[in-house]
Symmetry: none
Subunit: 206 residues, 4 copies
Amino acid sequence: MKTTEEESMADKALKTRRTSIGAQRNPQSQEAILQAAEEILVEGGLGSFSIEAVARRARAGKPTIYRWWPSKTMLLLDVYHRQKYVDIAPDTGTIEGDIFNVLYGLLEFWRTERAGAVFRSVIAEAQTDPEACRALAAYMVDRYRQGSEMFQRAKDRGEAADWIDPEQAMELIASFAWHRLLTDRLDIPEDELRRAARQFANSVKA
Amino acid sequence: MKTTEEESMADKALKTRRTSIGAQRNPQSQEAILQAAEEILVEGGLGSFSIEAVARRARAGKPTIYRWWPSKTMLLLDVYHRQKYVDIAPDTGTIEGDIFNVLYGLLEFWRTERAGAVFRSVIAEAQTDPEACRALAAYMVDRYRQGSEMFQRAKDRGEAADWIDPEQAMELIASFAWHRLLTDRLDIPEDELRRAARQFANSVKA
Amino acid sequence: MKTTEEESMADKALKTRRTSIGAQRNPQSQEAILQAAEEILVEGGLGSFSIEAVARRARAGKPTIYRWWPSKTMLLLDVYHRQKYVDIAPDTGTIEGDIFNVLYGLLEFWRTERAGAVFRSVIAEAQTDPEACRALAAYMVDRYRQGSEMFQRAKDRGEAADWIDPEQAMELIASFAWHRLLTDRLDIPEDELRRAARQFANSVKA
Amino acid sequence: MKTTEEESMADKALKTRRTSIGAQRNPQSQEAILQAAEEILVEGGLGSFSIEAVARRARAGKPTIYRWWPSKTMLLLDVYHRQKYVDIAPDTGTIEGDIFNVLYGLLEFWRTERAGAVFRSVIAEAQTDPEACRALAAYMVDRYRQGSEMFQRAKDRGEAADWIDPEQAMELIASFAWHRLLTDRLDIPEDELRRAARQFANSVKA
DNA sequence: AGATAAGCGAGACGGTACGTCACGTCTTCAC
DNA sequence: GTGAAGACGTGACGTACCGTCTCGCTTATCT
């Protein structure tokens, strides 16, 4: 949730007339463009996402967008990176609890429409643009590293087997979430989700 | 692998001038269109896949394409469905062996360039087109059912726990493969693949 | 002056919705584009003449314009060629009378705003575009040939000297008209015009 | 021809880094801008003449140009006015000789590439910009006054008729030169040029 | 001597037009 | 009625300039 100040700042960026502030990037324009891009993505999906549409909505000139983002893909990635996901990997004491929490949190985050639509677009774009694909892959590897801590803890506790690779284990979990996102089936009944968590916990058992 | 007759038929479809064969669908045209679509997809990816390009390559009129495929998405799905994957779910005696074989076969199938490029495109398209998304989801559910047999066998053998849902277990495995396809990381070292198979096998253990 | 039928045809071209009439040029679109181009030229001059503006006014697509006119210049020339000037080179019996009539007719034709504005634009364009310059020069040479008849008649009558080149003589007269057009001084007092005609007549005297 | 000092000054204006010299116009900047403008005009014609290009070439800021020249047109006129034409109206004793010399000198001056390209641009610009048109017309009237002296001399000698208006006579000659410039036909064979001069001389005969 | 005021380069800004590409629809004509 | 062909209106692409703006600086002129 955004604070009041942030919202008014963003609104100002969109609603007041902007102009150059000298030979330097105008942060209000950047804000307006990113905000407009996100809104379009959320409202109409990747299909209605075009530089023209973003420029129109942000009341910005197309060259201003192209000046700072070399391609549609890069703008997309920037929009995605603004979607700050508070990555909680809470220590519940058991690996199954941790996994359930992570899965539940991620799916819930995507279900709040904004984030899900944006991320789906990024993945789709990566299937067209090799650079986006590399960026996405690199980003994911980084995310696995973050998420893998819970498996490391489990190994330290002796709950997970020695031969388990924490990052790969994390990847399997993320893969499941991706798959549900991409087939538009984020609304998972709790028992299914629990069973998945249990299975993943089982999979690393010593 | 295609037979010689099929190839010459396809070649004929592409190279000779075609015209109406009366008030009925001309199968040569359909063949030429699908073949051209597949080639474009494989050579240039989804980015260079356009109705216009397909029509050009197939020496077909655009209306001919629109007459038989209501949208780009549907043409894409048709191309995908032609990619007959010989779904082997061989009974190796152990669930881990079965899983490894399925994973290895799928990734190998996609690595043979043609199939992978096409399927990636289908998934990307599904992120834009809700109808494609539904079709894809339905197709996947069907595939899980096929693939789940090995888990059923494992349950029958007592190798897998009672609480395991064979289809969901299959989904987890497919998810992993999808994820690697979508991040262009199909070249998995054998030890990683073995570890993944072992983990998946572990996950269903009683 | 256009006939009523022509006007209603042109109006129809502009006002009714047009579409393709098969794999052939749609004359209504062509008409609408040329008409719109002329109107823009007359109303706002070369400065406001842009392909976008023409397309907008003609309710045509830009590609339709580019399909048939490779450049702004060519569209301009086409507009000019539609401005059919009834080239009267009346035989008044004296060369001075002929010259006066030709000069008066030409300036009057240009003063009727439409033709003058279009021709000024063509000349200006020719200063930028070498191809337009060539086309214009060729067109002018042709016009001199037409206009030179009166000098030939004068030579036959013994009114003009043998050493006179009829076409070059015609060029001098056209040059004067051009000059007045280009400096926006078409409103020439009759005595000045008479003096010019007298001078030109003098210039060819035996 | 420029003196050595002027050239080095101009070079300095272009090559050394310039900055403000206090609350006053920096003549080096003005020089650099005008020089750059002329060069661009000569090298690429009016088509490649843009404020942006001039600023780039002169290493000047756009606002510096706009501060001193309200429009592209005015900059163009300034460039033209720097093209000092040594207006020779030599007294050869006969009006035909005078006319030939003036015509030959003017065409030769324009043929030396620099002047011709610039003047063509001014005329073209005047077809778009009414202010430029007025300025050009005023300038031309002034030039006729200068050039008309030879006709006045001819009248004084009794070589030209009383009813001749020297300035208008001069205009006819300039018109011919303009016409050749604008249709890119400055390379006139000497016999044609002689005939033209003879005709113009004839035209004012008593 | 220090403040002030304007000129300077730089370059970002919101725009308009460029010329190209693909969209999905339409009509014609040969079979 | 099916097929190739290709024109149509639409709209996005990425680029070039437009004319305006604010910046940080430099330097002459005025307290």
